[in-house]
Amino acid sequence: MGSVTTSHDMGLHEEQLAGRTQQRFFSATEEENFTYPWAYEVDFEKSAEFDAADLEIAEINIAIRDLMKSGHGTITVKNPRAKHSLGVGILNRLNLNFEGSLGYFGCGLIDGPNIHISGRVGWSCAENMMAGKVVIEKNAGSLFGAAIRGGDLVCKGQAGARVGIDQKGGTIIVGDSVGAFTGFMMQRGRMIILGDAGDNLGDSMYDGTIYVGGKIASLGVDCVETEMTDLDKRYLEGKLSQYDMSAPNGIDSMIKLTSGKQLWNYDNLEPTEKKLVL
């Protein structure tokens, strides 16, 4: 990202729940993202590639780990052939390229890597991602970026239903349409949908922001349209240009959605604290 300021620095703070934010912003150079004591020292200049056509799922993931162990910072996996659970659990900085498509649960539980997938991904891609960047050139299945907490997750094609369900941070960008129940129970973070959205968009969302460029089939309970500010537009411009994407009808025609907070029944005090007060 380099000189590009993060949305947080720009003053986009509205996703904060109870004054705290778990939004994590990924920067490949930022040391604090990689505090795992077991993280491997890798050199981005040192690259390796292997063919996954005849390998089992576990063998592929072990091969990636072994290459990281030997200091390889750029790894290309050829012919993943839509196998499930590839590139999961990587808690390391790494440039990882998949030349082909992934099956279900691809790139889940990651913290830090910079992943590029030239094909499509199946259900539950990048589930629970903490930080990093995942860019998918083609379509994505349902549950795209379920419960992600940070990082950028980008699908240039269309995605299935329940995109970003339970999202707790980070940014999800979809270049085309998304299915029903997108942003269901979203808690924090941002979602940018350049195409159409299916039924019940943002149903029961607690917080966070959804930007939509196309038509919306219907809004879910307590998801409301909000005024788009200049700050939002600047953010969208910056974010989309990072991935060479643009809103089909321009950023000005995009719609911003947030939680109406009518379903909120929170109290600032914990039950135990309440007793003390009373």
Binding site: A82, G141, R162
Partner: protein, 312 residues
């Protein structure tokens, strides 16, 4: 959880769909190892019906009392009833000791013939069709395919199913695909659970439809058969299932020359679609489609509530 797969070659092109479907279902084995079923659509001969029936369950063959004598008797009874109704059997084939494949000619009321045969104790007709051949048994795709010699089956389209039994027993009766009795060539595979099964089943039974199993998926086949019987098109009938049937489902339907898919309004069960100018492949997971197309292909997930139909 179940895995379902379907394929159709467009423009009347034929291919070795037996091998292709076996490969697709084998790739989905992890979604359901209990039983595997195939509905294969061959070219068929004019005026000739293909009958697939079984006279015992696989489990019975191991433990049933005097079962080996019984299956011979039951088969003889089927032969007698076919002759009695005036069906002309051209060719018979013993796929296994308890499952058979007959080619026959018949001009009368097919439903009456089928009812008359199924009236026999222990006999279940898996399918009757001009093009359709329905094969289902316990075991994974390769086991069933080898047992019934399906590799090399030439045809235009097929659907298949690998079952993880959740709602009913592990036996052939509860295995998919389901034939939409008594309609020629209509079969269904389903992934999901139906919640208004009993209400709808009782309703359909009152109107004279027969249910062979306690498997909820059979309802889809019977319901579509009922709708077609009332003069609806396949696509219209499928469209109606989305509103009427409650629960989570993604299912595939095949007729003599069509393949259709439908997904419930929640999009709760997966389906990956690959469509090219000459071929359409559908499966619960992309690995199944990749088992016949190892090269990079463009696939996508149809959305919730979507109904699509393709013609051979």
């Amino acid at each position: 959880m179940c895995g379902i797969a379907g394929l159709i070659w467009k423009g009347g092109v034929t291919s070795d769909i037996g091998t292709e479907m076996t490969q697709m279902l084998q790739a989905l084995k992890h979604r359901g190892p209990d039983s595997t079923g195939f509905a294969l659509y061959g070219k068929g001969d004019e005026g000739v019906h293909v009958l697939r029936f079984k006279v015992a369950e696989q489990e019975e063959m191991k433990t049933g009392f005097d079962i080996h004598r019984l299956v011979v008797e039951r088969k003889a009874a089927v032969d007698a009833r076919l002759a009695e109704m005036g069906a002309e059997v051209i060719e018979t084939e013993d796929a296994t000791e308890y499952a058979f494949r007959y080619h026959f000619k018949f001009d009368g009321d097919l439903k009456r013939l089928i009812d008359f045969i199924e009236d026999l104790d222990g006999v279940e007709i898996l399918s009757v069709g001009k093009a359709l051949e329905l094969i289902k048994d316990l075991g994974d795709a390769t086991v069933v395919s080898d047992q019934y010699g399906l590799k090399g089956f030439i045809g235009t389209h097929a659907i298949g199913h690998t079952r993880m039994a959740t709602e009913s027993d592990v036996d052939i009766r509860s295995a998919h695909p389901y034939w939409a009795y008594p309609f020629n060539d209509v079969s269904v595979v389903h992934n999901g659970q139906l919640t208004n099964y009993w209400t709808m089943r009782r309703d359909l039974e009152r109107r004279g439809h027969r249910f062979m199993s306690n498997c909820d998926s059979e309802l889809i086949a019977v319901y579509i058969a009922d709708q077609i019987d009332r003069g609806d098109e396949l696509e219209g009938a499928m469209q109606r299932t989305i509103d009427v049937i409650d629960g989570v489902f993604t299912y595939l339907v095949a007729t003599g020359n069509q393949l259709g898919m439908a997904k419930d309004v929640m999009g709760a069960k997966p389906m990956v679609l690959y469509e090219s100018d000459e071929f359409v492949g559908l499966a619960s997971e992309e690995v199944a489609i990749r088992s016949i197309f190892p090269r990079e292909i463009d696939t996508w997930d149809p959305y919730q509530g979507e109904v699509k139909v393709w013609a051979a």
